[in-house]
Symmetry: C2
Subunit: 341 residues, 2 copies
Amino acid sequence: MKEHVEVTIYDIAEKLNLATSTISRALKDHHSISKKTIEKVKKTAKEMGYRPNNLAASLRSKKTKTIGVLLPTITQPFLSSLISGIEIASQKAGYNVIIMQSHDSYEEEVNLTQSLYNNRVSGVICSLAMQTQNTDHFQVFMDNNTPLVFVDRVPKHFSTFRVVIDNFAAGYKATNHLISQGCKRIAHLTVGSEFSIYHERKMGYLAALKDAGLTFEDELLVRLKEVTYEEAEKAANKLLDLKNPPDGVFTPGDILGVSVIQCAKKRGVKVPNALAVIGFNNDPISNIIDPNLSTITHPAEKMGKASAEIILKSLKSSKKDEVKEITFLNTEVLVRESSLR
Amino acid sequence: MKEHVEVTIYDIAEKLNLATSTISRALKDHHSISKKTIEKVKKTAKEMGYRPNNLAASLRSKKTKTIGVLLPTITQPFLSSLISGIEIASQKAGYNVIIMQSHDSYEEEVNLTQSLYNNRVSGVICSLAMQTQNTDHFQVFMDNNTPLVFVDRVPKHFSTFRVVIDNFAAGYKATNHLISQGCKRIAHLTVGSEFSIYHERKMGYLAALKDAGLTFEDELLVRLKEVTYEEAEKAANKLLDLKNPPDGVFTPGDILGVSVIQCAKKRGVKVPNALAVIGFNNDPISNIIDPNLSTITHPAEKMGKASAEIILKSLKSSKKDEVKEITFLNTEVLVRESSLR
DNA sequence: TTGTACGCGTTATCAA
DNA sequence: TTGATAACGCGTACAA
């Protein structure tokens, strides 16, 4: 029977007749320790089966080398790619990533925020829950100089780092593309509150209409309860049932765009000629639906990488009086079959 | 300027003229502490802005309440759903999840395993890297009674918990379904080593052919370098170029199945009548491709949940002499348009 | 019901 | 270049 005992630097020190401080330093290649000692220590550490205990080190040094990530969910392609980007950049720097899902619930978000703090994460990356209006629960990180980065779904009035795309510009571009394809009656689906990214995309849509001299028609703007195929199908049916149906649709997500195409196909409405469609995100499904869905690229992995790097950089710097700048990443119109006519 | 100082149980103790042990207990609703004291302690803790330090608690108690998750990648729909399941079950039990990607590299997997151990995670859930043949790097968890669960891609010869589907049976079912639809020449794409799940699916395919009295033809089995659209398209072209092309294809992944359908469509080969196709996983894209791809359901979230629950249960039990059982989850044939004729 | 006192494994400070 | 020793913040026997 293998009675396991934890080998500590103390055990190594005893065996080698050295001080624990020497062992600690030797294991980290501290310059003040002779090469000979370093080698000797590392060798016996290995022999004895020594395993560093990050908990003890973190407690003492007050540095956990862990980045907390708090997202609405992780199964959306955009968000899993975002995590991937965060994880890759963190791993490269020797940082771990601890992940939590708010499931778009404000309450869960508040609780998880506490939990992240209790774990004394070195930094936090967060995309806000749909429900969240108030961001006081993040104040604790500010108070402790824990770098905090909001990504994609960011608060309006809270001075922190932010990594975003220009949702207004993207909405404008998407709508403008439809206009350039000759669409005159462009519909839009929207969702969420006036603080959401969807609101900004909608504002872009409205601005593009205006700039093109197209009058906005209320019946062409449909508000959804949530981002699902079902909700989008309902909306599409409603739009196509209009006396004067739209000849183009900009949906602020690919699930919605795909659903609109499917609905149009079912009803015999030709895409793109009778109805041009453009989505958002460049999810895998957008490239599978027939006809392929035009979309707006959303650089998920890059945004994750950028967020992590901001944290890492901030940890290296003096931490005080930092400028909490906003990082904008590019989006592009990806023209595919569903809008090309 | 807000000079931040950490409020500890010691500070609370001083303020209330109580012992730290009393504070510690009161904050955890220990039964030996009077209600009055508990209330008083909690109140002043809040007032003083006390925040528990999980690091210190973990160091002391040797319990981190953290589950380490080590996966090849997290962007595949199956794996992100798996994580979601793990995260939901863990969160419910007050456990955190720390996530790492091996990117299918054996070397990275070894390193990350060390890192997980150094963080003294309470349990580990792992799906092996494609490259991994040897699992000695997990021995450290065995030696320390850290519950270890392999999920989906599990090692053949290593006595731990395993949460899997029956890949052989699933491959058999998929192939058999095609046979039931009248297919006589069924092709199969495969990938990876003889230790992979793909190998088992292939064995199921072969067994189904045999049981149906269909002779296996070598030219109908195509080996891919990796699971990508491009590789599958190459394979599909090769198959359709045959003098005697197949009338059915079983692909052990939906990306492959979708790609085969796309290739067939391009070439004017009718799916399902000229070529029936069935995939694997029930990824979102399988339900978007036209015609819809029949597939094998793969209960990702359930598997994640089951894995986490095994860890949690194991942590509660005596930890010694446990039976390291294998948990099999169900798969089903999901018949859609691509194979129905 | 509450208090005393020590240890978890490491790092940091100061001294040698 | 190395050593002695005190923290880091909390939990837990054991005592009161």
